[in-house]
């Protein structure tokens, strides 16, 4: 019985959140095209003093590129929650922002230890955060739901004992070269 349970909890879990109207959502996340600009960051485990630096930098860069403030707010919240997840739960990881003229695709990959049940982790209120995360004002089980709420498509995959990978993108209201976004 034990062997069977271990096999189940160790399997690859994934969650897709792509609304029907975002037709290219899965394809874009699985096979992202060449971005116009890439921003790369290292995220340190349990370093709450540094947490948020990557997200602020992404926000600032997109602000300079002329992204609308309401879209910018969604991007910043999703990025910050994702960055905090890596700080609070993982052994550290990397964060990349791939900037296109119509959207930003954010990719986070950590060094483990993986999520036992991704579907559970997506539920508002479910949290495995430690005491430190809670002291810092996190750990309410709202991180992944907040990311889902603020992005246009997301995918998370994990396996207990392995890395967790989170991809999401947020569409801009209009292309940053000034044209209307047809998406």
């Amino acid at each position: 019985m034990k062997v069977c349970e271990a096999a189940v909890s160790n399997s690859l879990h994934e969650h897709w959140a792509v609304p029907d109207e975002v037709k290219d959502g899965r394809e874009f996340i699985l096979n992202p095209p060449e971005p116009e600009l890439v921003l790369d960051y290292e995220i340190e485990s349990r370093n709450y003093a540094k947490a948020g630096k990557a997200s602020s930098d992404i926000k600032l860069t997109l602000k300079q590129l002329g992204v609308d403030p309401s879209v910018l707010r969604k991007i910043a919240i999703a990025c910050y929650e994702a960055e905090i997840n890596v700080v609070a739960h993982s052994k550290g990881g990397k964060m990349h922002a791939n900037i296109y003229d119509d959207r930003v695709l954010v990719i986070l990959e950590d060094e483990g230890p993986g999520i036992e049940d991704v579907e559970k982790a997506m539920l508002p209120g479910f949290s495995t955060a430690d005491e430190l995360a809670r002291e810092m004002g996190f750990g309410a089980g709202l991180g992944l739901p907040n990311i889902k709420k603020n992005c246009d498509a997301m995918h998370i995959s994990s396996r207990l004992g392995y890395k967790t990978r989170l991809n999401f993108f947020v569409l801009f209201d209009k292309l940053i070269n000034g044209n209307t976004n047809e998406q």
Partner: protein
């Protein structure tokens, strides 16, 4: 429904922790009370004053990300100087009051709704 922040300060027996004078024209039109940072990001709105006892650096990061121009620390909570420095850098006004979150929220609500 909009008040100047400097008019709120005496009403809540508050002190400005960040550089004075930078916020003379700051107006707020609503408030939010919460000590859970994800809840603030999910539910607070632009131009609200945020009342909290969370005094860590992350509070300033959350305010910046959620476009919150002012954090009011309740219950006599005073953040460290690195938090105040960061708030000055991010152009976020920090206030401190000895009153409870409930009392501050009540006085802010009264001001906003008595005009």
């Amino acid at each position: 429904m909009t008040i100047k922040l400097i008019d709120l300060i005496p009403k809540i027996e508050g002190d400005i922790l960040t550089v004075k004078g930078n916020f003379n024209n700051l107006t707020i039109n609503d408030g939010y009370v919460s000590d859970l940072l994800s809840d603030v990001m999910a539910n607070a709105k632009d131009n609200q004053a945020w009342i909290t006892i969370m005094k860590h650096l992350n509070s300033v990061a959350v305010a910046s990300i959620a476009n919150i121009p002012c954090i009011i620390f309740a219950n006599g909570v005073i953040p460290n100087s690195d938090v105040i420095d960061k708030a000055n850098e991010e152009n976020i006004c920090l206030l401190a009051s000895k009153l409870s979150s409930f009392e501050i929220a009540g006085r802010l609500y009264t001001m906003l709704h008595s005009k």
